[in-house]
């Protein structure tokens, strides 16, 4: 990947992370850990990959995105705000009464292609969108992000079977493998491993990458585009809470908002990182 583009993506991802912290802090609730772990891939999708139009969010030819792990809505909202779908100011009223930004993605929000949040359902809707493109010979692509805990849901595997059966090579699923779910390590709670082999057995082309390396992300999505006749899953090894030192790899930050002091520290760390990048 071009160094300038990479630097710009890193800067944007840092801003996305700041927006996540802003949203969750003001909401006094929400899911920062899994939001921070997908900030890089979301930034890549919206700023380097997908054809989307902030001034025409419903443009029929647009690429689609479904956040199957819908509880990490702060990451999606922050990315959409950076992209210009709505003002960044909206992040401050996330989860408030009367606010645009609901606790989980809602289809009425500009840029949100599907309501989601009840785990296991988003990937099925993504399959429907991809099937629709196949039926009509539309060229748009469909992307969906699942949690590694989420794939414990049986519906995910119904959808996995469906996508391979109908050869949905216009569908790319990303599994955010941060290794933690609410009750602890996924390997202790209910191991979904081996993830790659499971998807391969279901007929998918599987790629494993480091979630926080834009070169790796870029290579994976470029590889995905070359795959024909089968859906692609990108299993990204990520750090839950990535970018905020005290949140990293801590299961406790799955669904907890920072207090004022923690908020200040998180913002200070991310601002320092931003300053360093913008140097």
């Amino acid at each position: 990947m071009d160094a300038t583009i990479k630097k710009q993506l890193e800067i944007t991802a840092c801003k996305v992370r700041l927006g996540i912290i802003e949203g969750v802090f003001n909401a006094k609730s929400g899911h920062p850990g899994g939001s921070l772990s997908i900030a890089d891939v979301l930034t890549y999708l919206y700023f380097a990959k997908m054809n989307v139009y902030p001034d025409k969010p419903d443009e029929p030819s647009r690429d689609r995105f479904v956040l199957s792990k819908g509880h990490t809505a702060p990451a999606l909202y922050s990315t959409l705000a950076q992209k210009g779908f709505f003002p960044e100011e909206e992040l401050k009223s996330l989860r408030h009464i009367g606010a645009l930004l609901q606790g989980h993605p809602c289809i009425t929000i500009p840029g949100v292609d599907m309501s989601s949040g009840s785990l296991g359902q988003g990937i099925s809707a993504a399959c429907g969108m991809a099937l629709s493109a196949k039926i009509s010979n539309d060229t748009y692509k469909v992307y969906t992000i699942l949690g590694d805990g989420e794939i414990e849901e049986g519906q995910v595997w119904e959808a996995a079977m469906f996508a391979a059966h109908y050869k949905l090579d216009n569908l790319v699923a990303i599994v955010d493998n941060n290794g933690l779910q609410i009750d602890g390590k996924i390997s202790d709670v209910m191991s979904p491993y081996p993830i790659k082999e499971k998807f391969e057995a279901f007929g998918w082309h599987a790629i494993e990458i480091d979630a926080h390396d834009f070169d790796a992300i870029d290579n994976a999505f470029n590889e995905a585009e070359k795959i024909s006749g089968q859906p692609v899953v990108i299993i990204q090894k990520s750090v839950k809470g990535k970018g905020v030192s005290f949140m990293e790899n801590q299961v406790g930050w799955h669904g907890t908002a920072p207090n004022a002091e923690q908020y200040a520290q998180a913002v200070s760390e991310l601002n320092a990182k931003l300053k360093e990048l913008e140097g």
């Binding site: 809602c106 309501s115 009840s118 099925s124 009509s136 079977m161």
Partner: protein, 315 residues
């Protein structure tokens, strides 16, 4: 009465889809390995490229239907009522109802008239479940003519629709030449002054038969067909209650949460009136020939007559 034609509304569903496929090019059909039973196989034969089998995976099928609907297609997701409203309830709620997507659910084999398959497949709860989803339209047609009209009405309505069809062949009493389906509007089939019998689905023809018997015995009964259970026609219900002062609801569904509850909701708020419910009581069904089961559970003209007479006598 030998010339009465009988037909299962699931047949009507499959035939209507196939017949309407030419007119509505945006119509697609999904099934969960039951095309032979839900009769979507009739559509599949005519439009194989617009039919997608999802296998025995109803949850995913509902989500796929939602995804198709986001792109402007009109999917009919078809399976048995037990799996459409039961197993897939939460997907219907969250992936179809909450985003208010234009998905049509064709739920066949509803009620105890499934027959020999028994309690696991006799869904007596689907109307109750679907009524709780905001924005969900629920249609329970009474015969072949009404079922076919309902399918087209569902296509023309923008929003999620749950359609309930049966396995058992039932009398075709509506005249296709004059029948008119209006979504959300009940149909008064008979005017009376002693009692209002409000029925839905396959119980409508039984209610008509019962009213004839009651008339011979000196009881004049109004008969109303409520094909759209949600949104319900409050006006026709209130007017019938006003005219008769006594309401008897009849449905092949649990007495909890179905037509009887919907009618009671209307009347308790607008015109408190005694409502007696005939339906499946708070119990599971069991195996047996459908017609015998309907009789055993009191879902027949005889029981409507008996119940109506007792209710009128104690007025």
């Amino acid at each position: 009465m030998a010339d009465i034609i009988k037909k299962a509304t699931r047949e009507s569903y499959g035939e209507a889809l196939a017949a309407l496929g030419d007119k509505y090019e945006n119509l697609y059909v999904l099934d969960a390995d039951l095309a032979a039973a839900t009769k979507t196989g009739i559509f599949k034969k005519k439009f194989p490229e617009r039919f997608f089998d999802c296998g025995i995976a109803e949850a995913n099928m509902m989500g796929v239907a939602a995804g198709l609907a986001t792109t402007g297609k009109i999917p009919f997701a078809s399976t048995f009522a037990m799996f459409a409203a039961g197993r897939a309830f939460e997907i219907v709620r969250n992936s179809i109802g909450y985003p208010h997507l234009n998905v049509k659910i064709g739920a066949t084999h509803a009620g105890i008239s499934v027959g020999e398959d028994g309690a696991t497949h006799q869904c007596n709860e689907d109307i109750a479940l679907m009524r709780t989803i905001p924005g969900m339209t629920i249609i329970n047609p009474a015969d072949d003519v009404e079922a076919k009209a309902a399918v087209e009405a569902a296509i023309l309505h923008n929003g999620p629709v749950y359609m309930r069809f049966g396995r058992l062949a039932v009398p075709v009493f509506n005249d296709p030449a004059t029948y008119k389906f209006e979504l959300g509007k009940g149909i008064k089939l008979r005017d009376g002054k002693d009692i209002a019998i409000i029925a839905t689905g396959l119980m409508v023809s039984e209610a008509i038969e019962a009213a004839k018997v009651l008339e011979a015995e000196g009881i004049s009964a109004t008969v109303i067909n409520i094909h759209t259970i949600k949104p319900i026609d409050a006006e026709i219900i209130v007017n019938a209650a006003k005219a008769t002062g006594l309401v008897l609801t009849v449905e092949e569904h649990s007495i909890i949460g179905g037509l009887g509850s919907a009618v009671s909701d209307v009347l308790s708020a607008e015109l408190p009136t005694k409502v007696i419910k005939i339906g499946v009581n708070d119990e599971f069904g069991h195996s047996g020939p459908a017609v015998d089961l309907l009789k055993q559970f009191g879902l027949c003209a005889d029981n409507i007559v008996k119940t109506a007479k007792a209710a009128v006598a104690s007025k």
